[in-house]
Amino acid sequence: MIDCVENRLLTSRRGLLLGGASFAAWAYLPKFARAADGRDPRLVVVILRGALDGLATVAPVGDPDYAGLHGSIALAADGAHPAIMLDTFFALHPAMPEFARMYRAQHAAVIHAVATPYRDRSHFDGQDVLESGYAGPGRVQSGWLNRALEALPRGERVSSGLAVGPTTPLVLRGNAPTVGWAPVALPQADDDTAMRLVDLYRHRDPALASALSQGLQLEKAASGDDMKPKPGNAVAQMRQVARGAAKLMAADDGPRIAALAFDGWDTHANEGGPVGRLAFLLGGLDGALAEFESGLGDRWRDTVVVVATEFGRTARINGTDGTDHGTATVALLAGGAVKGGRVISDWPGLKLANLFEARDLKPTTDLRSVIKGVLQGQFGLSDRVLAETVFPDSASARPMKGLVV
């Protein structure tokens, strides 16, 4: 006799694959949803874990030092895969045609040379700072988005039938209740994690390296290139999560505020230029933004999507055609409520003397100012609440004006 439950487990294993992505949303319909001006604002925060290469996403092709620093993976305005010029100086990665379209329609904007207050290079701590909203790392258990929600008038309960996912991003964790979903089936480990483990085994435990490689159905290790991650899954997952989240948020009684996290941006080796690993991931992000646009329908008009990452990557590529942990990077805004069509940047330049610690793009804009600007524009949160509660001790980072229509 076989236990029915364990049976179900075996058959459902290859069900839903959402390994590298998660979603959670606020559980209440805010009071402002039926405000007099008819606006029904929505906010989506997309966290890119692993540190996005801002110089590869929105390339300063007009900076004379860019091509030399980014070397073999630098984008160019010409060639087989030309980057998409956003203005005369910045060019968007060619894997992001949807974002380019939104940008041209003035529904998307880029903030460049932006960073959180964190100045070291640990992913974990950097993500803590990015998501907690505190000035430094620490074991904080609530995120800035949740604290922003607490400051809003609470409306009716939404979507009580939804399961809470186990991976609510820190940014949305806290006292304000959230909903979300999580897949039940065993998601497969993402390719990046698998590759890192194979690499560790190669150095320490060849027998396990061989077994795991076979298990992953990869070619023999000798042909190095075959060990590159297969990004197909990750891209599909990003779109899938965004589609589901958009569907939820489009409903009249659906959540207005959501947070998603996409993993896999830690491109230390073989990052790729116009095509390659990062290009695939950016394509997934681009697809996710398009899913939000189409899924939200009329609600897109009142929506802002914020895309942010814990820090950037080195300006100069490393010895493995990738980039190491850096400092400043980009933040992206998309949505009908974005006052878009511009790259907002106090460009620091890429001359060696201008780089942060002679290696990273120097931060000239505080990411908290950007987020504060969005929160204020969408929900009318006061300077004081933003500076004391949402981002504690951040009075010096004033809300950026005019980000929202």
Binding site: C4, V5, E6, L9, L10, S12, R13, G15, L16, G19, A27, R49, G50, A51, H123, F124, V158, G161, L162, A163, V164, P166, T167, P169, L170, A176, P177, V179, W181, A182, P183, V184, A185, L186, P187, Q188, A189, T193, A194, R196, L197, L200, Y201, R204, D205, A207, A211, L212, S213, Q214, G215, Q240, R243, G244, A245, D253, G254, D263, W265, D266
Partner: protein
């Protein structure tokens, strides 16, 4: 005293279930006195026993199973009379808590309090494509059937075992339990009674003797209803016994063969087919009382003289006089003390704890201990801990799936509250609890557990644990708890450079330091 982290890994991983996270101090304690840390558990005389509220004896469980089977039968008959399709049998009300947690991968089922304001129905699955915000019940998850008494019992027994393994200090005694339970395995897939009794069998026949005498464990095992059912001895009748004559039926050699081949002498241990048949005759009448209770309390071991082959039997060159139950007990006693048994057990023991290719000198020493102490299993366990080989042999053994899931839970300091996730993961990884494919138990070599698909699945599971628990832990702290300075530079760097805590935790759980023992 000098601290030796490498020896601590041997103490904790080779002999135990790995370091516990949190404030346990396991690694430091083990590093200060590695041998003492392992042997401390052996000094607790009843340390292997497992009692928990609600766990019942084999006869009680047998009676509950019989009652359940009767209910099913009656319901079927009633339905047949009414001409309707059979309804499902009367069920006890479903335990909501159990039902809710029948999901996959819930190695740690609960999320830290306060992090989620909503309780999660963990078995709900939603496909974004079909998602309806107001859908009360997710379409992908079939409504869970209420658990019947057999499933509930299996889960309760499993949970008690999992909790014990997660909470104990070193885990050496529990590892011994797992070793002996696998040596004398039954399979829950044999039938409803086997599933019902799987946990009780281990509690009653294995645990009391893990630090006792091999001969006592052997007798307890071969007289346990679960073993008699698993290897069909309750069907075996002496051809010349009254029952055999009446029913024109006879011997079933299954149990007798496995006693000699798998439990004691081992293949090539010096027995012949004649000996197998002879032992089968000797243990005819070893059975358990059925639901009618004619022979005794239903579900208890009984000697049925009516089924016992009369007359003396020649076994391994010795004649055993016809003295009923005592004939078989005398035979088992001699087999337990046979030199082949000592050799077989010593070899298997060293293979399990030290190396796939057991060092011959160590095997010989353990065999001598076994012989000299009349099969004192505590002496055997002490001897292997005292050996040099066990501490010098490189950590090349692969953690079994059970070791892996227990060690992970310990390191993460998660006490299981529902066995569903563990059972699911063990199924997935090819080591379903108390359910080996055959009476030879689960394999005990690295090759078996380091297979490609198994490694891939381990990674998937580790990744899932990372996604669930990663946000709330510091993977580098855990590396300190698990290995400290015995961790390789590469492992440390791999974890440090992970792109998220989630990924770092998955990589830590999959690191050679946590996979090898």
């Amino acid at each position: 005293m000098a601290r030796d982290s490498q020896a601590a890994l041997v103490a904790l991983n080779r002999f135990g279930f790995g370091a516990r996270g949190g404030a346990s101090g396991d690694l430091i304690n083990a590093a200060s006195d590695p041998r003492g840390f392992v042997k401390a558990e052996l000094a607790r005389p009843f340390g292997a026993l497992l009692e928990a509220p609600g766990l019942q004896s084999t006869p009680q469980l047998g009676q509950a199973a019989f009652a359940y089977q009767d209910q099913v039968k009656q319901a079927r008959e009633a339905a047949a009379k009414a001409g309707a399709p059979a309804e499902s049998p009367p069920q006890a009300p479903a335990d909501q808590k159990l039902r809710r947690n029948l999901s996959l991968n819930t190695v740690a089922t609960e999320i830290a309090a306060g992090q989620m304001a909503e309780a999660k129905p963990a078995d709900s699955a939603m496909k974004p494509d079909g998602m309806q915000p107001n859908a009360a019940a997710p379409a992908a998850a079939k409504p869970a059937q209420p658990l019947n008494v057999i499933q509930k019992t299996f889960r309760a027994e499993a949970l008690a075992r999992l909790q014990r393994a997660t909470l104990v200090e070193c885990g050496f005694t529990e590892r011994l339990v797992v070793f002996w339970s696998n040596h004398f395995c039954i399979s829950a897939n044999k039938g409803e009674l086997a599933r019902m009794w799987a946990g009780a069998f281990e509690r009653e026949a294995i645990r009391p003797h893990v630090l006792g005498r091999f001969a006592d464990m052997l007798k307890a095992v071969e007289q346990h209803p679960a073993m008699l059912f698993f290897l069909d001895n309750q069907q075996s009748l002496g051809p010349d016994s009254r029952a055999g004559q009446n029913r024109k039926r006879g011997l079933n050699e299954n149990l007798a063969r496995e006693i000699m081949e798998l439990h004691t002498l081992g293949v090539g241990g010096g027995y012949t087919q004649e000996d197998v048949t002879s032992l089968a005759r000797i243990i005819t009448g070893w059975t358990f009382a059925g639901r009618q209770g004619q022979l005794g309390a239903p579900g208890s071991f009984v000697f049925n003289a009516n089924a016992h082959q009369p007359g003396p039997q020649l076994l391994l060159g010795k004649t055993y006089e016809a003295i009923g139950l005592a004939q078989g007990e005398a035979a088992l006693g001699d087999i337990a003390r046979h030199l082949s048994t000592a050799n077989f057990i010593a070899t298997k023991f060293v293979r399990h704890f030290v190396a796939d290719d057991p060092p011959p000198a160590l095997v010989a020493r353990l065999r001598d201990v076994f012989v000299r102490t009349d099969g004192d299993l505590k002496a055997l366990a002490t001897a292997i801990v005292d050996s040099d080989e066990a501490w010098k042999a490189p950590l090349t053994k692969m953690r079994s799936p059970y070791d892996f899931v227990i060690a992970s839970g310990r390191l993460l300091a998660r006490v299981p509250e529902d066995p569903g996730g563990y059972l699911g993961n063990l199924n997935l990884l090819g080591q379903p609890l108390w359910t080996p494919a055959g009476p030879n138990g689960f394999p005990d070599t690295s090759a078996a557990w380091a297979a490609p698909e198994g490694m891939k699945l381990r990674l998937d599971i580790a990744s899932q644990m990372g996604a669930r628990l990663g946000p709330n832990i510091d993977p580098l702290d855990l590396l300190e708890f698990a290995a400290a300075d015995a961790a390789s530079t590469e492992t440390r760097k791999t974890i440090e450079r992970a792109e998220s805590r989630q990924q770092a935790l998955a990589l830590l759980l999959m690191s050679p330091e946590l996979q090898r023992r």
